[in-house]
C-alpha cells in the first residue's frame, strides 16, 4: 500500500472518529443543525470558511489561474470582498434576529420573520435549496472523482462512487457539531497546504523572480491581471493572448462571484450557530485572514503549475500534479488529504442544510406533529437521497468551476437580496421576499439555458441579483406596512440582546 493511501486512511478514520463522537452527543434537531448555538469564534470562523471553500479552492480556482494566468485572480478578489461584507453586515444581525424569532434554518427565518402562516415561503425556500444544492453537491463529487482517479489510478466512475460512500457515511453519522469540528480541522489543513505547497515550489524554482521570468517566457500576458489568455492543450502554443484584453463584462462577471455570499445557506447557518453575536468581529478577522491567504496561495499554485508541469489535459488537476511531481509520497499524502478536506468540508455542510430543508421545511408541512426522532431519521434519509441524485449528475463529469458557478449563482441570487432586505429594511413584506427568491432563481435558470443571454458572457448572478432586488423592492413597496410585532422583533435584533 502506498504512503499516500495510508495517510488517506488515517485521515478519513480521524474524521469519522470525530463524526461518531459528536453523533453520540446529538440529542435534538437544534443540536444536529446548529450545535445548540454553542460554538466559539475560532471554530465558527474556520468552519464557515471550510464550508465555503470546496474542491473549487484546490482544483477549480488554481485550474482557472493555470489556464488564464493572473486574469483569473479577479474571482478571488470578488470572493474575498464578499466574505468581508457578509461578516460585516449580515453575520451579527442574522445571529441576533434568528435568536429573537427562534429560527434554526434559513427557511425558518423567512417564515418567522414575515409571520407567514401559509407556509409558502418555507416550501419555496426549501425547494430552491434542494435544486441548487443538489447541483452543488455534484460538483463536490466530480472533484472527489478527479482526486481518487489520480490517487488510486482507477476509473473516474468508480472514483465518484468511492467519494459518495466516504462523504455520505460521515455526514450521516455526524450532524452540525461534528461537521463544524471536522470543518475546523479541515480548514486548518487546507490553509497549511495552500501556504506550504506554493512556497516550497517557488523556493525550489529559485524564487519569485525566476518564476515570473519563466511564466513570461511562456506568455508575458499571463502575468498581467488586465490581459486575457486562453489555454488550448491541443495547440502548438498552448497559452495564447486574446487580443482585446479583459473586458468590462469579463471583469464584473469575475468580481460578481462575491455577491453570492449573502445567499449561501450553508455559510449563513454558521453565523446562526455562534455562541454570541459579540464574538462575530473576532471570527470575521480570522475568516478574512484565512480566505485572503488561501486565495493568494491558490493563485500561486496555478501560476507555478504553468512552468513546473508539462501542459495538463485537465487544468483542474494542477495541484494534484504538483504534489505528485515535487513532494515525497508521505508529504504528498497529507496535502492530498487537504483536497479531500476541502471537498468534504463543503459537501457535508451542504448535505446538512439540504437535509434540514427537506426534514424541517418540507416534511413538517405534511406532518406538523412529527417528533424529534422522526425528523432526525428523515434528515438522514434525505442526505442519502440528495447524494444519490448528485451522483447521477457527477457521473457525466465536467468542470468543477462551471458546476460550482451555476449553483453559486442560483443560491446567491435567490436568497442574497431576500436576506439583505429582511435584515435591513423593515418594510420588506412576505410577498416581496417571495418575489425576490423566485425571480432570482428563475433568472439564473433562464439565463443559463437561453443561448442569446448566456452568449453575452455576463455571469448570470449579476442580472439575477439585480432583478431580485427590484422585485423585492417594488412588491414590498406596494404591500401593507409591517405589523407591530414584526417591527418590535426587527428593532430588538438591531441591538445587542440581553444575554450577550
Amino acid at each position: 500500500m502506498s504512503p499516500e493511501i495510508i495517510t488517506f486512511i488515517i485521515y478519513i478514520g480521524g474524521m469519522m472518529g470525530i463524526g461518531y463522537y459528536f453523533y453520540k452527543q446529538n440529542e435534538s434537531t437544534s443540536d444536529y443543525f446548529l450545535g445548540d448555538r454553542s460554538l466559539n469564534p475560532y471554530v465558527t470562523a474556520l468552519s464557515a470558511q471550510a464550508s465555503d471553500m470546496s474542491g473549487w479552492l484546490l482544483m477549480g480556482f488554481p485550474g482557472a489561474v493555470y489556464a488564464g494566468g493572473f486574469n483569473a485572480m479577479w474571482i478571488g478578489i470578488g470572493l474575498a470582498i464578499g466574505t468581508y461584507l457578509n461578516w460585516q453586515f449580515v453575520g451579527q444581525r442574522l445571529r441576533r434576529y434568528t435568536e429573537v424569532i427562534d429560527a434554526i434554518t434559513i427557511a425558518d427565518f423567512f417564515e418567522k420573520r414575515f409571520k407567514d402562516n401559509s407556509r409558502v415561503l418555507r416550501i419555496v425556500t426549501g425547494l430552491v435549496i434542494l435544486v441548487f444544492f443538489t447541483i452543488y453537491v455534484s460538483s463536490g463529487l466530480v472533484a472527489g472523482g478527479k482526486l481518487f482517479e489520480s490517487l488510486l489510478n482507477i476509473d473516474y466512475t468508480i472514483a465518484v462512487y468511492f467519494s459518495v460512500v466516504i462523504v455520505g457515511l460521515y455526514t450521516v453519522l455526524g450532524g452540525y457539531l461534528a461537521v463544524s469540528w471536522t470543518d475546523f480541522v479541515q480548514g486548518g489543513l487546507m490553509f497549511i497546504a495552500l501556504i506550504i505547497v506554493p512556497i516550497t515550489v517557488i523556493t525550489n524554482f529559485g524564487g519569485f523572480a525566476e518564476v515570473w521570468r519563466a511564466v513570461s517566457s511562456v506568455n508575458p500576458d499571463l502575468l498581467h491581471a488586465g490581459k486575457s489568455v486562453t489555454f488550448d492543450i491541443g495547440a502548438d502554443v498552448q497559452w495564447i493572448s486574446a487580443g482585446s484584453g479583459l473586458s468590462f463584462i469579463g471583469l464584473i462577471s469575475l468580481l460578481g462571484w462575491g455577491l453570492g455570499y449573502f445567499g449561501m445557506p450553508h455559510i449563513l447557518v454558521r453565523f446562526m450557530g455562534i455562541k454570541s453575536a459579540k464574538q462575530i468581529p473576532r471570527s470575521q478577522f480570522v475568516a478574512v485572514t484565512w480566505v485572503t491567504i488561501s486565495l493568494i496561495g491558490a493563485v500561486l499554485v496555478g501560476i507555478v503549475g504553468i512552468v513546473v508541469l508539462e501542459p495538463l489535459p485537465d487544468s483542474e488537476k494542477v495541484f494534484l500534479e504538483l504534489l505528485d511531481k515535487l513532494f515525497s509520497p508521505w508529504v504528498s499524502g497529507v496535502f492530498l488529504a487537504a483536497v479531500l478536506a476541502a471537498i468534504m468540508s463543503t459537501i457535508d455542510s451542504q448535505l446538512l442544510v439540504s437535509s434540514s430543508a427537506l426534514a424541517e421545511d418540507l416534511y413538517t408541512v405534511f406532518r406538523r406533529d412529527a417528533g424529534q426522532k422522526e425528523l432526525m431519521w428523515v434528515s438522514r434519509g434525505a442526505v442519502i437521497v440528495i447524494i444519490l441524485i448528485g451522483l447521477i449528475f457527477a457521473l457525466s463529469g465536467g468542470s468543477v468551476l462551471n458546476i460550482v458557478s451555476y449553483a453559486w449563482a442560483g443560491l446567491g441570487a435567490s436568497f442574497g437580496p431576500a436576506i439583505i432586505f429582511s435584515l435591513f429594511w423593515k418594510q420588506t413584506t412576505k410577498n416581496g421576499a417571495l418575489a425576490g427568491i423566485v425571480t432570482g432563481g428563475a433568472t439564473v435558470l433562464i439565463w443559463k439555458n437561453v443561448g442569446v443571454l448566456a452568449g453575452t458572457g455576463l455571469y448570470e448572478i449579476i442580472p439575477a441579483f439585480a432583478l431580485s432586488v427590484l422585485a423585492i423592492y417594488f412588491v414590498s413597496a406596494a404591500g401593507k406596512d409591517p405589523t407591530k410585532q414584526v417591527v418590535k422583533e426587527f428593532e430588538t435584533a438591531l441591538k445587542p440582546l440581553k444575554n450577550e
Binding site: 513570461s216 498581467h224 478577522f285
Partner: protein
C-alpha cells in the same frame, strides 16, 4: 522576459486583501476596547 510582476497585478492582488484584513482587525480592536469601557 520580465522578472517582476506588473504593478497593476501586484497592486490588485495585495491592496484589496490588505484592506479587508486591516478593516477586520480594526473591528476587533474597537470591540475589545469597547468592552473594557
Amino acid at each position: 522576459m520580465k522578472s517582476s510582476l506588473p504593478f497593476f497585478t501586484t497592486f490588485w492582488l495585495l491592496a484589496p486583501s490588505l484592506a479587508i484584513v486591516i478593516l477586520s482587525l480594526i473591528n476587533v480592536i474597537k470591540k475589545e476596547t469597547g468592552d473594557n469601557e
